[in-house]
Amino acid sequence: MNLLKSYIFPRLVQWVIVILIGTTVTFIIPRFSPVNPVDVVMASLASYQTTDPQAMLKLKESLEDMMGLNENIFVQYFKFWGRLLKGDLGPSLARFPIPVIRVIGNAMPWTISLLLIATILGWLLGMVLGTFAAYYSHKSWSKILQVVIMALYPVPYYVMALILLMIFAYIFPIFPLFGGVGIGLKPSLSLNFILSVIKHGFLPAVSIILVSIGWRFMSQRALTSTLLSSDFIVYARIAGVRNRKILFYLFRNSLLPQATDLALSLGGIFSGALITEVVFSYPGLGQILYSAILQGDYNLVIGISVFSIIGVATGALIIDLLYPFLDPRIRYS
């Protein structure tokens, strides 16, 4: 009960605040637009198909009604939330009349699985490498590793993805140039399909891992160096505890700050994944966001923004809620 009140409840409040701020910003930005969103939509619709003017006028009215542009901004805001809670984000304009929510729903599994694997692997790898590099800081491989990661860390996600694509798909065609699965393969549980998915997802995942590992590695190395001079490690060393065991102690003790940090850096990794997906034409949220930009699909861009904020906030919340399992102090407080 205490845990609920002192730990879980504040996290939930934070989660609500994040979503509130995020969606409010996505609501406000379009209102500052120098152009009327309805006109933008009408113009982009007119470029796809020719309909009779009568129908276009009707559509314009219903769009204005849907976006509620004729009403007071506060009424608009509440209506926006009302629709959002029902999961209604309007129809996609480029893929009319498929609802935005369905377009996002189709892309979601790709992004989530790619992100989940890349984030967890990047996090663990960064921590393990960081711990080793700090523990064996005098070894030459540790120094080389440090230089390599230092050179990788500031590289933007886009450039990393582009370089990997150039090298491993274009110059040495080991991996496919684009897509999430081989052409013509139907989703099934066959070995062929799964192998194809892994092959297509490999480079995007590696490029996310390579960039996100940098910060993790360096913060873990710094954390471990401080831990190395703490009493319990010094004692363990004097007592002749095996290296393996000490490394485990170091790892276990840096798990907590790194879990908090992961929750906070989730937004950055997610943004990077969007860009990576665009480079690899991976069929996730990033890819549909890119096509929405190209096609001027106003509803879809807003929908993806709102969804990514909710998604990332929820991801961070889940990590926070897993925290008591890692930290006995919170569990028994």
Partner: protein
């Protein structure tokens, strides 16, 4: 000057970063003295590979890539610089308000900060750039980026200030009768300053990366050469598939040199300016 010389000698990271940054700055300065207007298309034969006459070759539009790149580097640096100044000013203000005032102010600011840290910024930026498409110039882009990048640094400034406030020398200063402002200016500033310098450069790097991401998606004014828009046009004309590697390779290479150079410089400078590291070095 002597400091730079010393740092150059003893800190490898700094020397590599310094060389890279000087290289990039030199390119940016060159952009003011082009032998001809490099933005005009069809000045030269198309798709020439790098040669002595055209160091980085020409592109499919018949422009000299090197001279275009000088302008691109300059514009990207300007965007990064302005954005870093804005975001770090905001961050210092907000962070020190939370850190020094403490109590309820701190709790409110921290909650808001934590929320902004979690929100993924790229979708917001894309939404903004999408809706204001055609209205973004380098200045407004820099301001926009600056206003989105204060949450992380202000959180870190706050925690730095909190640990400084708890430190022994702060208490010593207080008990010997120093005023609060005096303590902040004379005792805390040297620590914070090193942090601000290193951190501003990382803001710089972030802004350049974000500008590239937005431009590559076609969400920036594509007639203005920046590192991002140069990559956009190279992609647009399928330079990679056509084997014109020098077109796509040049901006990508320049971008990598810029970010790695700036990053190494920030690490070297941060260590050099940090009183804690300096004390450690003295005691060795």
């Amino acid at each position: 000057m002597k400091i730079i010389k010393d740092l150059f000698k003893y800190d490898k990271r700094f020397s590599v970063g310094f060389i890279f940054v000087v290289l990039i700055l030199f390119m940016a300065i060159l952009s003011f003295f082009p032998p001809y207007d490099p933005t005009i298309p069809h000045t030269f034969p198309r798709d020439l590979s790098p040669s002595l006459k055209h160091i980085l070759g020409t592109n499919s539009l018949g422009q000299d890539i090197f001279w275009i790149l000088t302008i691109a580097v300059r514009n990207s640096l300007i965007i990064g610089g302005i954005s870093a100044v804005i975001s770090r000013t905001l961050a210092i203000l907000i962070g020190s308000l939370a850190g020094y005032l403490g109590g309820r102010v701190d709790r409110v600011i921290s909650t808001v900060c934590d929320s902004f840290v979690v929100i993924p910024r790229l979708p917001l930026l894309i939404l903004f750039a999408f809706i204001f498409r055609g209205f973004l110039n380098p200045l407004s882009m820099a301001i926009l980026l600056g206003f989105l990048d204060w949450a992380w640094p202000s959180k870190r400034y706050r925690s730095q200030i909190l640990s400084l406030k708890e430190s022994e020398f702060t208490n010593t200063a207080r008990f010997s009768g120093a005023y609060t402002l005096e303590i902040i200016a004379e005792e805390h500033m040297p620590f914070l300053l090193s942090y601000v310098v290193a951190d501003s450069i990382s803001g710089f790097i972030w802004a350049i990366g974000m500008e590239t991401s937005l431009s590559v998606l076609g969400l920036f004014d594509l007639s203005i050469p920046t590192l991002g828009t140069t990559i956009y046009w190279a992609n647009y004309y399928k330079s990679m598939l056509l084997g014109i590697w020098w077109w796509i390779g040049s901006p990508v290479g320049a971008l990598i040199i810029t970010v790695i150079g700036l990053y190494l410089l920030s690490v070297g400078l941060g260590d050099f300016l940090d009183p804690k590291v300096r004390l450690q070095r003295l005691s060795k």
